[in-house]
Amino acid sequence: MHADSLGFIFLNAAIINNFVLALFLGICPLLGVSGKLNTAFSMGLATSLVMLISSVSAWLINEILTHFELEFLRLIAYIAVIASAVQLVEMSLKKFSPALYRALGIFLPLITTNCAILGVALFQTNYEYSFVQSLFYSLGAGTGFIIAIVLMAGLREKLDLADVPSIARGAAMSLMLAGILSLAFMGFAGLGG
């Protein structure tokens, strides 16, 4: 596949350079919200949605800033856009699905400080992707995030029943799981050629 083709960009963001397991972006929700499968999946969806909105807005903002040669404002503009996108998702969730809103709790506003979202915006700028390419990149990144967090939640649900030494319970165990998952995802590294 050609490195600039849309399919490759999607696959690259979702699996080969998985945002969570290969680039270490968005570890906080991975450790925090992966206790239950349902919540993890909703969290993944909410994050992907914010990713998509902020990626599109970031592309537009970058065009404007580059036009006026104001690149040094990029970071501040991006973070402001992401914060508003999160607010938007939060308000719509509160209205359409209060149960889900309560389940996500504090982690919903914390999407703002999810590195993965700012990461998408920054990487697409660094790679100088076009609008459509950015769109596929953010979709891929969102898919990758969902895959990682759902896999993690599934494993942790099983692990709840296992007999684990008391010192390894909690964060250490989750990190080891993430390490093993990351090891598995390294197997996809050859996919890009």
């Binding site: 397991l21 680039l23 080891m176």
Partner: protein, 229 residues
């Protein structure tokens, strides 16, 4: 509104809590992304730690100075903008000082903005304390963060490349564990450090419990009960 502990004196604990008891990485588990991503060598870890400490100090100082001016409703947005400003400063600074470091850290310098630790400190400490307290506390937190990064960076570089700061340690016959430099290594090494600290904490607690349970029998029986477990 809660009583503002504005006039609290500076104690050694203000400084030390960030290094040990409330260490942002090992205890609070904050700011994980840069911790895992840039610690594949000691030099990168050090650069990242210093950059984060700088942003933490400056932004928290400003937050502390403006704590009476910033309205409660928009405080998070205000903090983020302050942090983003200083991150932009650091980004251009590192770009000017060393292109090598800039390329090695990549987008992770800009991603300091979303380091939960900095926002967390601004919200939990700087917005309620005097400038002097905030500076001391932020410095402690920054040093604690840097130490944590160095803990990871040194282990990963030692095992993954057989070197420290680029100088070979183990000699020719050492077969480097490349996996330690790759993403899974980051997860495994951090998990190992967490396990070590959990183990230390638990054995300390047991010793304390044993001492409390049998003070008249002296340390001997207490020690025996630890081993019996």
């Amino acid at each position: 509104m809660a009583i503002k502990p504005d006039t609290q004196p500076i104690t050694p604990d203000t400084f030390l809590s960030g290094i040990w008891r409330e260490n942002p990485v090992f205890v609070m588990l904050l700011g994980m992304c840069p911790v895992l991503a840039v610690t594949n060598s000691v030099a990168n870890a050090l650069a990242m730690g210093l950059a984060t400490t700088f942003v933490l100090l400056c932004s928290n100082a400003l937050v502390s100075l403006l704590r009476r001016q910033i309205p409660k409703e928009v405080r998070i947005a205000a903090y983020i903008i302050i942090i983003a400003t200083f991150v932009t400063v650091v980004d251009y600074l590192i770009h000017a000082i060393s292109l090598e470091v800039y390329d090695a850290l990549g987008a992770f310098i800009q991603l300091i903005v979303v380091n939960c630790m900095i926002l967390g400190r601004a919200e939990a400490f700087a917005s309620r304390n005097r400038l002097s307290n905030t500076l001391v506390n932020s410095l402690g937190m920054g040093i604690g963060f840097t130490i944590a990064l160095l803990c990871l960076g040194s282990v990963r570089e030692l095992l993954g490349a057989g070197a420290l700061l680029g100088y070979p340690i183990f000699g020719q016959s050492f077969e480097p564990w490349i996996i330690m430099l790759l993403p899974p290594g980051g997860f495994f090494v951090l998990a190992a450090w967490l396990l070590l600290f959990a183990w230390l904490k638990e054995s300390q607690q047991r010793r304390k419990q044993a001492a409390a349970a049998a003070p008249q029998n002296g340390g001997k029986l207490g020690g025996a009960s630890i081993h019996a477990r």
